[in-house]
């Protein structure tokens, strides 16, 4: 290929003359820049010429650096002429000469303390907007449910069954596996530590109450938020990006009734069923560990379980499930509708959906704990 670019002083009186040669191209841009800036800095003449006839290759990078040299000299009142430039490079030089590089208005730098306060304020306002968006979605779902009840035929039953299959049936294996393992782990820890006090029989009490009231529903809700909540957000978000939701609206259909209601209802049904299955799997796992690790026969385990738990504990867990599903569904759909044009926005909202849904599920669980304690359940 062509040789290294050079820019040398050919004569210095009466006027300065430079001679350029080599490849003035992108591949040599860093060397060229050093050359050009070196010259632009220290010459104090009246006028200079740059002889370009030995330049072997020339592109926009070379043309721009030449232009930069001319502009830098002009800023200090020095004229520069280009001589013997090959004809077919003329257009490039002209194009660069016309380029106006007024820098884009850059955001003014702020005090870091003020910046931090602004960020906190912004985050607070954003959290408020989130809350409003969630309340808005909840209201819209309520209204759509009302309309659906007055005209039951308008409900998209097929769509709901489809989603029930995806978020319910297809989630069964993984939910069973996880809750089974969690039940086993709780039982093992119980036997290991309770043994020191000789209180092994109480492991069954702990296992039964913990799983039916808290762990079963919580684990399942967290799993569903990660598995199905995120997919709701991604689906609705990409539909929003591709204007499908606008298309629905212009056809006179309510996106909440068409897209959100079947999804949220499917989630409410699925989470309730999965909670039941998950709790049973966890008790089963706990029972097996009790048998093989704790040396407690299944008959004794079941008899102890029957004494330790009542239908109340079971009810507490099952009552919570649909509410948690509602929270997950509402957050997921609200985040999906909040997606703006870019792929990055879709990713951000999907993450936010899972994080917020899990956070709210745990907050809700806390509120339920207070509520059930106060009504002695």
């Amino acid at each position: 290929m062509s040789g290294k670019p050079t820019l040398s002083v050919a004569a210095d009186s009466p006027n300065l003359a430079f001679a350029a040669s080599g490849a003035w191209t992108a591949a040599h841009a860093d060397e060229l820049e050093a050359l050009v800036d070196g010259i632009g800095a220290n010459e104090a003449d009246e006028g200079a010429s740059i002889d370009m006839h030995k330049v072997e290759a020339f592109d926009t990078y070379g043309a721009w650096l030449l232009e930069r040299l001319i502009r830098a000299r002009k800023a200090r009142g020095r004229e520069t002429r280009i001589v013997a430039l090959p004809e077919h490079y003329q257009g490039l030089v002209t194009a660069m000469h016309q380029a106006s590089l007024e820098p884009p208005p850059s955001p003014a730098r702020e005090n870091t303390v003020i910046g931090a306060i602004v960020k906190v304020g912004g985050a607070t306002v954003a959290a408020g907007h989130d809350l409003i968006a969630i309340a808005n979605m909840l209201g819209a779902i309520g209204a759509a449910t009302g309309r659906m009840l007055t005209r039951p035929r308008s409900f998209r039953f097929t769509s709901m069954v489809h989603h029930l299959d995806r978020v319910g049936l297809q989630a069964v294996p993984i939910i069973l596996l996880i809750t089974f393992l969690i039940g086993g782990i709780i039982a093992q820890q119980g036997f290991f530590h309770f043994r020191k006090f000789g209180a092994e029989t109480y492991v069954v009490d702990m296992l039964g109450i913990l799983i039916l009231r808290e762990i079963g529903v919580l684990i399942v809700a967290i799993m569903v938020a990660g598995r199905s909540g995120s997919s709701y957000t991604a689906e609705l978000g990409s539909m929003k990006m591709r204007e499908e939701i606008d298309a629905l609206r212009t056809m006179g259909l309510d996106p909440i009734a068409v897209l959100v209601l079947p999804r949220v209802l499917a989630l409410v049904l699925a989470l309730t069923m999965l909670t039941f299955l998950g709790s049973m799997a966890a008790l089963y796992g706990g029972g097996l560990v009790a048998w093989f690790y704790g040396g407690m026969s299944p008959d004794i385990f079941i008899a102890r379980l029957r004494e330790a738990i009542s239908i109340t504990h079971f009810k507490v867990g099952m009552i919570k499930a649909p509410f948690m599903a509602l929270v997950i569904g509402v957050v997921a759909c609200a985040q999906g509708f909040a997606v703006r044009g870019s792929a990055e926005s879709l990713g951000r909202q999907t993450t936010a959906s899972v994080v917020k849904a899990i956070f709210l599920v745990i907050v809700l669980d806390g509120l339920f704990a207070v509520f059930f304690a106060s009504i002695d359940m």
Partner: protein, 260 residues
């Protein structure tokens, strides 16, 4: 500069599964020309483009671009050739997480050693050349209109000063005024930078006003290629319908009349 071949495709066969999309296609594009490529929807124009740039494997045939045989080239030769071309995808394919300026700087950052100042100046110069105003330089692609996205994508395609530019339907989705401006921009840049342009288009006006030569793809083959006069003389039914149809007729009459 003219006379040499920039792209030479010989007997190219491309297919997916059972179907054969391109059946022994041969195309030659000369250096320094704007070559327009037309064909009905689904005729395989985009497949040809994507095969030439290496996104789809060919079943048979040879592809030679800028003097390099890409069908038999090793990875390194291929990379070296890829640096010498720029591609404008149909939807722009701008990176949505980067600003306009960063999008144009992306290939420069990857391939060249430039100071921060030169990087900024070059990207700004390229954006200025494609006619994007400074207030849009720090926007994200999602905030741009269709015409601006095409301009930024063109600036990015030109970032490394390529010798060859592939344009996939550059004027689709633009209003006639923007499309006309874009055609003119392509013509100006092609002259200034000495580019070879390979352009897929449906836009009859582009074919009339900017393309030096045109190739027509129909039934998996290039049925004819040459300047617009050859197209108008062709008796191939699809070519006839395309260039001598109702819309073409109106356009030809308008372009024949001097602007009043």
């Amino acid at each position: 500069m003219t006379g040499e071949t920039a792209i030479s495709v010989r007997d190219l066969v491309v297919g997916f599964g059972e179907t054969t999309v391109l059946d022994r296609v041969s195309v030659a594009v000369q250096r320094g020309e704007i070559f327009g490529f037309v064909g009905g929807s689904g005729s395989g124009k985009s497949v040809l483009l994507r095969t030439i740039i290496g996104l789809i494997p060919a079943r048979a045939g040879t592809i030679e671009v800028l003097g390099t045989d890409l069908t038999h080239a090793d990875e390194e030769t291929r990379r070296a050739t890829e640096r010498r071309w720029g591609i404008l995808f149909q939807q722009g394919a701008l990176f949505s997480s980067l600003t306009v300026l960063q999008n144009v700087q992306f290939p420069m950052r990857e391939y060249l050693h430039l100071s921060k100042r030169l990087l900024d100046e070059m990207a700004e110069a390229k954006l200025d050349m494609v006619g994007l105003r400074p207030e849009d330089w720090n926007k994200l692609p999602a905030e741009l209109s269709g015409g601006m996205i095409k301009r930024v994508a063109l600036a990015r395609a030109l970032a490394l000063d390529p010798e060859l530019v592939f344009l996939d339907e550059p004027t689709s989705g633009l209003d006639p005024i923007s499309a006309g401006d874009f055609d003119e921009l392509i013509r100006t840049l092609q002259r200034t930078l000495g580019l070879t342009v390979f352009m897929i288009t449906h836009d009859l006006e582009s074919l009339y006003t900017v393309c030096d030569r045109i190739g027509v793809l129909a039934d998996g083959k290039v049925v004819t290629s040459g300047p617009i006069a050859t197209m108008l003389a062709s008796e191939h039914p699809w070519v006839k319908a395309y260039f001598r149809g109702k819309r073409a007729h109106v356009l030809a009459r308008r372009l024949a009349q001097p602007a009043s």
